[in-house]
Symmetry: C2
Subunit: 489 residues, 2 copies
């Protein structure tokens, strides 16, 4: 066994060595030699036939959802989907993986995070990284120029050539509607425009080739102070200190439509075509946001940059100002819970003739929202029902399994959500306890006497009251007792 | 470029050579040498910097879903989820990929179909192949011994130690409820038991080691005639012809509970402990299915074997007898639309101490069902609405964008599903046409006069009737006009 362990260690070290060489961008020949060594070592090692040490876990970065967590998710998704439907969106779906080349060159510095699938001797595939690039691929492939759609209950987009800022304003309205309905606390939507950023970089004297990398430095301003960002720009990215200072003067500003108007008068920015286009659009956007009654939720923030390469116009990001303070709750801190923007060039990257389809969209940070809602429910020690069962079919005496099966089947066929214990002769107490635990409100109890009388004893779990109901009236009575407020579907 | 093409061809050939060697199970050293050659060639080739020939497609074996297809899916999923909830199931979710070792050794001959992810220098991952193995991993990891759950609207399982055949009967009831509700035509559920199959193989004289492979031959009987299956057993799998004939006598039988009773008297089978256990359970199962009123949908079929290794008891598979004949419709043929069974050993494979959790479940063949429903709708040329929009906010004159934005925002805030065209000055005709195409039933028309009078003109798209509604009554009037039959949620 010692030999095998040593060999395994050698393989591991050689693997690290190869990865190191790759990071140092060593020559192809050098890497190839080392890979050959690695393969040789692995061949010596042979298949591992020792007792299997099995680790029971999900892959790094993934998680399971328990019934309780799924019940929370379902409520959150329900709010989001209702809103998307209210705004007339269709729904599409795309596969979990895409051709590798579909995803290549779309994300900028984030593309390190893409998972590739192992070569199966056919196509090179990768797991999708977001829903926006697959959506753009879908539009190009189906030659669609117009669509309003949502995707897996968290991404919403409007594609098409329209009058300026109307779809953009609707995306912001949708974001505000969803965040208000979810009742996860006060929020603010930061808005900026890639054209304003680019114009600002130009007038500050940033070389063209450095726009994207300086943009990703600016994006860090919500987490670290300006001094640190400046150090990165000057030290790591080789920007002249006076250029960085000029950027600093701009990106530390935020405000409402008055800041937009002020910058339109800015002696330098007003000379830059791109910046003026961006500012003029933002001014119009603010008009529409006022008509939508959400302008007080919006802040024009020059430090908002968004990480992804594909944005071309308006960008936005919603942050929670503070999670509602609850007894015993850990503060979750401020963070982005929804974001998006305009990406007018992405579909053209897929079209053989480069035809463009302007798009604007948003994505809801559902995982973050789930955590917030979950944490709050835990702090409140609130009970979350994980099923919707209306009634448990129970029996008070032994030898009534057949009668229980017959009754529960009748109820299912009438559309009632019903359960029974999978035991031949369960105790009544156990059946009642099951209802308490699962939050089932009613119990339909069968007994010898009830069978003779053609009735079922219907018990309310909360009040413990019992009444005899004629069997033919049972379905109606259960419906009546478990009817909720008129639903909004 | 000619050099490059030649090199590319060499790489291709060398790649094929390596794959060939692997299939021939050549020695590790031999393969390793050839891999090194391949790598050398690839290094010479270098990166491809020629003009990128981009192929716009989804990965092999995957597809996109259009809004129309998603609308069909939503209806199908709605039926399925309603049924799962009616039976008191909780819902869980697990990640799209799993550790490779979680999936290894669970599927038998089907495991070739598993996609591995490329080594990211960390864990070895694979895309999940079904939802059953992740479910079993979830139970073992969370030390759960009891749960009734569904997963992504298509898999339903009951885990736990219960009195025999009650959960199994409920699974069959669920399958029948769903297939009836979907109205995709008449169906039959074939039922068998792995223990009956194994007992039958034993009494026919199949060597123990060949049980699984002979089982997968039997599984083909729904597609090819007995003679072909026999040839495979004898020719490819080395079974003695007289053993195959004995199997043939059994597997060509199917019927109801009377066949179960007959086989319990079978001189050979009645001597085999496993077979008797399986037959006894099936007899009990038929009793429960009769109480559930679905025994006429069930056929005990000795040729049903199911491909996957993990089944241990009752197995079942629903087939459509015939898709409903529609004018111009291509017959889709008979095929499996739902299936499942009992797998009492799978959770134990994940548990460090091998503790078992008995499970029984079913999976709905949603893709196949979508195709059937889609094809039928196409044959009927039925229009499928892809949005739920209740009203379009329109204007009869120019310069009313602001008024349209204000009104649509009011409607959204009141929970009405509303849209507007993203144009400053759309023509009324275009707005009405949009409603016709999208199936929007109502139009709220704003005009100068209406604004002065404090009313909105509400138009029914179908009847073309228009009435003036006071603005404060508009929401209520839209709700009233678009109210559906009381919903069943």
């Amino acid at each position: 066994m010692a030999d095998r362990a040593a060999l395994e260690e050698l393989v591991r070290l050689q693997g690290e060595h190869v990865r190191g060489l790759k990071q140092q961008k060593a020559s192809a020949e050098q890497i190839e030699e080392e890979v050959a060594k690695l393969l040789k070592l692995k061949a010596q090692l042979g298949p591992d036939d020792t007792k299997h040490k099995f680790v029971l876990k999900t892959p790094k970065g993934t998680r399971d959802y328990s019934p309780r967590q799924m019940a929370v998710r379902e409520k959150v998704f329900d709010v989001i989907i209702r809103c998307f439907k209210r705004h007339g969106a269709e729904v599409i779906d795309t596969p979990v993986f895409e051709l590798k080349e579909t995803l290549t060159g779309k994300y900028g510095e984030d593309s390190k995070l893409i998972y590739d699938l192992k070569d199966q001797g056919g196509e090179l595939l990768s797991l999708r990284y977001d829903l926006t690039v697959p959506f753009a691929r879908y539009l190009a492939m189906n030659k669609l120029t117009n669509i309003k759609r949502y995707h897996i209950a968290k991404d919403f987009d409007i594609a098409g050539q329209f009058d300026p800022m109307i779809p953009d304003a609707e995306c912001l309205k949708i974001m505000c509607e969803i965040l208000s309905s979810l009742q996860i606390g006060d929020f603010l939507v930061k808005v900026n425009d890639r054209r304003i950023l680019d114009g600002m970089f130009a007038v500050c004297g940033v070389p063209d080739a450095k726009f994207r990398t300086i943009c990703s430095s600016v994006d860090k301003l919500d987490k670290v102070p300006w001094e640190e960002v400046k150090n990165e720009m000057v030290g790591e990215k080789g920007l002249a200190p006076e250029v960085a200072d000029r950027i600093g003067d701009y990106v530390q500003q935020h405000g409402g439509v008055s800041l937009v108007e002020q910058l339109l008068q800015d002696p330098k920015l007003s000379q830059n075509k791109q910046a003026v286009e961006g500012l003029t659009d933002l001014k119009l956007l603010f008009e529409y946001l006022t008509l939508f009654g959400i302008n007080d939720k919006i802040s024009f923030d020059l430090s908002l940059a968004r990480g992804l390469d594909y944005y071309t116009g308006v960008i936005y990001e919603a942050v929670l100002l503070q999670t509602p303070a609850q007894a015993g709750e850990e503060p979750l801190g401020v963070g982005s819970v929804a974001a998006g923007g305009r990406y007018d060039g992405l579909v053209g990257m897929f079209d053989p003739k480069g035809r463009k389809v302007p798009c604007v969209g948003l994505s809801i940070g559902v995982e973050r929202i789930f955590s917030i809602v979950e944490q709050r429910l835990e702090a409140l020690e609130e009970k979350v029902r994980t099923t919707e069962t209306q009634v448990l079919v129970a029996s008070a005496q032994k030898k009534l399994l057949e009668e229980r099966l017959k009754l529960v089947s009748e109820l299912w066929d009438a559309g009632i959500k019903a359960e029974l214990l999978y035991k031949k002769n369960p105790k009544l107490l156990n059946q009642l306890q099951y209802c308490e635990e699962a939050g089932i409100p009613l119990v339909a109890i069968i007994g010898e006497q009830e069978l003779k009388d053609g009735v079922i004893k219907l018990r309310s779990v909360a009040s413990r009251e019992e009444v005899d109901v004629r069997r033919e009236d049972l379905v109606e009575e259960i419906r009546r007792r478990t009817a909720q407020a008129p639903c909004a579907c």
